[in-house]
C-alpha cells in the first residue's frame, strides 16, 4: 500500500489528524535545505511536501516565490532534488510528495520523472498548474510507478466538479482554504472564535466536500501558527503549512514551529 494511504489509515485508527509540511527543496542551497527537512521530519511532520523551485510560480505568494529564487540561484534542479529525496528515504518512512509546477516535470519528461521519483521513494505528485483536464499524460506513467495524484480542490470548485475530479483522485484531497496565492494574509484566514463567519465558512466548505468524497481532506493556504492549525484540524483530516515553515527555516526556528504545529494538530 502507498505510504500516504497507509499514514492516513493509521492516523484515522488512532483518531489523530495529520500535519503536512511544505519546504522548497534547495532553499537556500541543497545542503541547508536537506538539513532543514531532516529537522522538520524529526520534529513531527506526518507528510512532507517537497517543493520543486520554478522561475514563474504563479500560484505562490512572496515567501515561496523568494524561496524558489534562492534555490534556483544556488543551482538546484530536479535531478538533485530527487537524489536528496532518495537520501531522505533512507532515514525516514514519512510519505513524501513532490510539489511542483508542470514545466520542470514536463521538461524532465513525464515517464522518466515518474520512474526516477518512485525510485527515490517519492509517494505522490501535486502539480499546481496541471488541472484534471490536462493530467492524463502524467497520470498514466504515475499509475505505472505507483505514485498518487493529489487533487487540489478550490473554494471556487463546484460540488459537481469536485465529484468528477475526485472520482479518480488518490491519497487525500488538498482543499485550498482561500481564493488567493500561498502565504499568510494580513487578515487571519482562520481567526479564532472572535470572528466566527470565516471559520464557519471553512467548516461549511469542508463539510460540503465530504459529500463528494471519502478521501481524507487536507486544508491549506494561509495557516501559520498553532492556533490556526488547531482551528483547521477541527474540521479537516490534515493541515498543510508552507510559507510559515519556509520563513521559520530562514530564521532558525523551524524545529520550534514544527513542534508547535504538531502539538496543535495532534491535540485535536
Amino acid at each position: 500500500m502507498n505510504r500516504i494511504t497507509q499514514t492516513f489509515q493509521t492516523l484515522r485508527m488512532q483518531g489523530r489528524k495529520a500535519l503536512i509540511g511544505y519546504l522548497t527543496a534547495g532553499d537556500p542551497d541543497l545542503k541547508t535545505s536537506e538539513r532543514n527537512i531532516r529537522l522538520a521530519l524529526a520534529n513531527g511532520l506526518d507528510i512532507l511536501e517537497l517543493g520543486v523551485p520554478f522561475s514563474d510560480p504563479t500560484a505562490d505568494g512572496p515567501v515561496i516565490q523568494a524561496a524558489g529564487q534562492r534555490a534556483l540561484a544556488s543551482g538546484a534542479n530536479l535531478k538533485q532534488i530527487l537524489a536528496m529525496a532518495a537520501r531522505l528515504r533512507r532515514s525516514f518512512k514519512t510519505p513524501m510528495i513532490l510539489f511542483s509546477y508542470a514545466n520542470p516535470l514536463f521538461r524532465y519528461g513525464y515517464n522518466a520523472l515518474c520512474r526516477d521519483a518512485a525510485r527515490a521513494g517519492i509517494d505522490g505528485l501535486l502539480v499546481v498548474d496541471l488541472p484534471y483536464e490536462e493530467s492524463a499524460e502524467l497520470r498514466t506513467p504515475m499509475k505505472r510507478h505507483g505514485l498518487l495524484f493529489i487533487q487540489l480542490i478550490a473554494p471556487t470548485t463546484s460540488p459537481e466538479r469536485a465529484r468528477r475530479l475526485l472520482a479518480e483522485a488518490d491519497g487525500f484531497v488538498y482543499y485550498i482554504l482561500v481564493k488567493g496565492v500561498t502565504g499568510l494574509r494580513k487578515r487571519r484566514v482562520l481567526p479564532p472564535q472572535a470572528d466566527p463567519p470565516m471559520a464557519e465558512n471553512t467548516k461549511k466548505n469542508i463539510d460540503r466536500l465530504r459529500t463528494c468524497t471519502d478521501l481524507p481532506i487536507a486544508a491549506g493556504f494561509g495557516i501559520g501558527d498553532g492556533a490556526q492549525a488547531r482551528e483547521a484540524a477541527r474540521h479537516a483530516d490534515a493541515v498543510v503549512v508552507g510559507s510559515a515553515l519556509v520563513e521559520a527555516a530562514r530564521k532558525g526556528r523551524l524545529a520550534e514551529l514544527v513542534r508547535e504545529l504538531a502539538a496543535a494538530v495532534h491535540g485535536v
Binding site: S55, A102, F106, Y108, T157, V181
Partner: protein, 399 residues
Amino acid sequence: MKHEPDTRGHFGPYGGRYVAETLMPALIELEQAYRKAVKDPAFHKLFNAILRDYVGRPSPLYLAERLTKAYGGARLYLKREDLNHTGAHKINNTIGQALLARRMGKTRLMAETGAGQHGVATATAAALFGMECEVFMGAEDIRRQAPNVQRMQFLGATVHPVHSGTATLKDAMSEAMRAWVARVDDTFYVIGSVAGPHPYPSMVRTFQSVIGTETRAQILEKTGRLPDMIIACVGGGSNAAGIFSAFLDDSKVRLVGVEAAGFGIRTGKHAASIGAGRIGILHGSKSYLLQDDDGQVQNAHSISAGLDYPGVGPQHAHWADTARVEYCSITDTEALRAFDDLTRLEGILPALESSHALAEAKKRAHKLGARATIVINLSGRGDKDLDNIVSYKQKHRKH
C-alpha cells in the same frame, strides 16, 4: 485546414489550460459566456459600432510608395493599426473583452502589459464602460514606457509595478494571474495576446480578426487580387493572428511572422520563442518557450517591450509546425533601421514592435519582385518608444 482549437483549447499538441484549480471554474464560465456572445448578433452589432465610431475603424490600407521604391521590389501596403484610437491594434481586443465582461456582470478589469499599449487599451475600455481597472506592469517596462504609464493613470487605472524576475512582461503576467486568483469573483482578466489558457488564444484572435477581414476586402478593392505575402511581428502574436486569420485557407498567400532577435539569436539575448525555444508550459498554455534544460523559463530580450516575452501563442506554435506560417527574426539594430526608414520616407513613426515587420519586408521585397504585393501589419505607432530609441542610439554611439 482547421483553425479552431478542440473543446479543451488545444491547437494540435499546444494550448490547453494549465492553471491552478481556483481559476478553472472562472475559465469555464468565461468560455461559456464567450461562446454565447459570439453567437449573439446584438453583441456583434454593438462591438462593430464601437470599433467604427470609437476606435475609428476601418483602419486604412496604405500603399507606401516611397518605401516601396527604397526597398526596391514588391509593392508595400501598410495596414494602419497605428491610426486606431490609443495608437495600436490592442484596442480591438480590449473593447471585445470589456463588452464580454459587462455581459458577465463583472465590474473590474485587470490586465498585464509590456509596452503599455495593452494596458492603455484596457484602461481606455474601462473608462468607456465605467469599470475599475488594475494594470500590472514590470518595473523595467515602466521605466522604458513612461508616457504610457501616465496615460493609464490619467484614464483612472491603478498601475502596479512588478519587481520580480526581470521586471518585464513575463513577470507582469505572473503577477496578474496571482492577483486574479484572489479576486476571481468580480474581476475580468483581460489578456492582451493570443496567449494564456483557453479560451483566451482563440477569443483574442477572434476579436483581432477584424484586421484580417478589413485587409482582405481592402487589398481586393485596390489591386483586384490577394497579396503575395503578409508580414506581422510576433511577441505573443495577437496582431499577427488577427491579420493572418482571414488568409489561412489561401495557400498562395505567404504568411510571415517576425520574432525579435534582440542582440542576435546566437547571443542568447533575444525573444525568438519559435526560432530558438522548446515546447513548454507557461502562463496557462503549452507552446514554444525560452527555457533551460531544467524547465526554468529564461529571460527574453528585445528593444521592443511588446515583444520582450519568452513564450508565444499556442496557435502560432501549431502554425509553425504545420508550416502554414513562416517564422523568422529581426535584431534590435535592424528594427531601428526600419524605424528610421519609415519615419523619414513616409512620415510615419512605427512602433518598435511593428518595425520588426518592416525590417523583414526590407529583406524580402526585392526577392519577390515589383509585381508582387506585400501587406505589412503596422500594429502600432512609435510615439511611446521615443525616449527608449533616443537612449539606445546614445548608448550605441558611445561604443
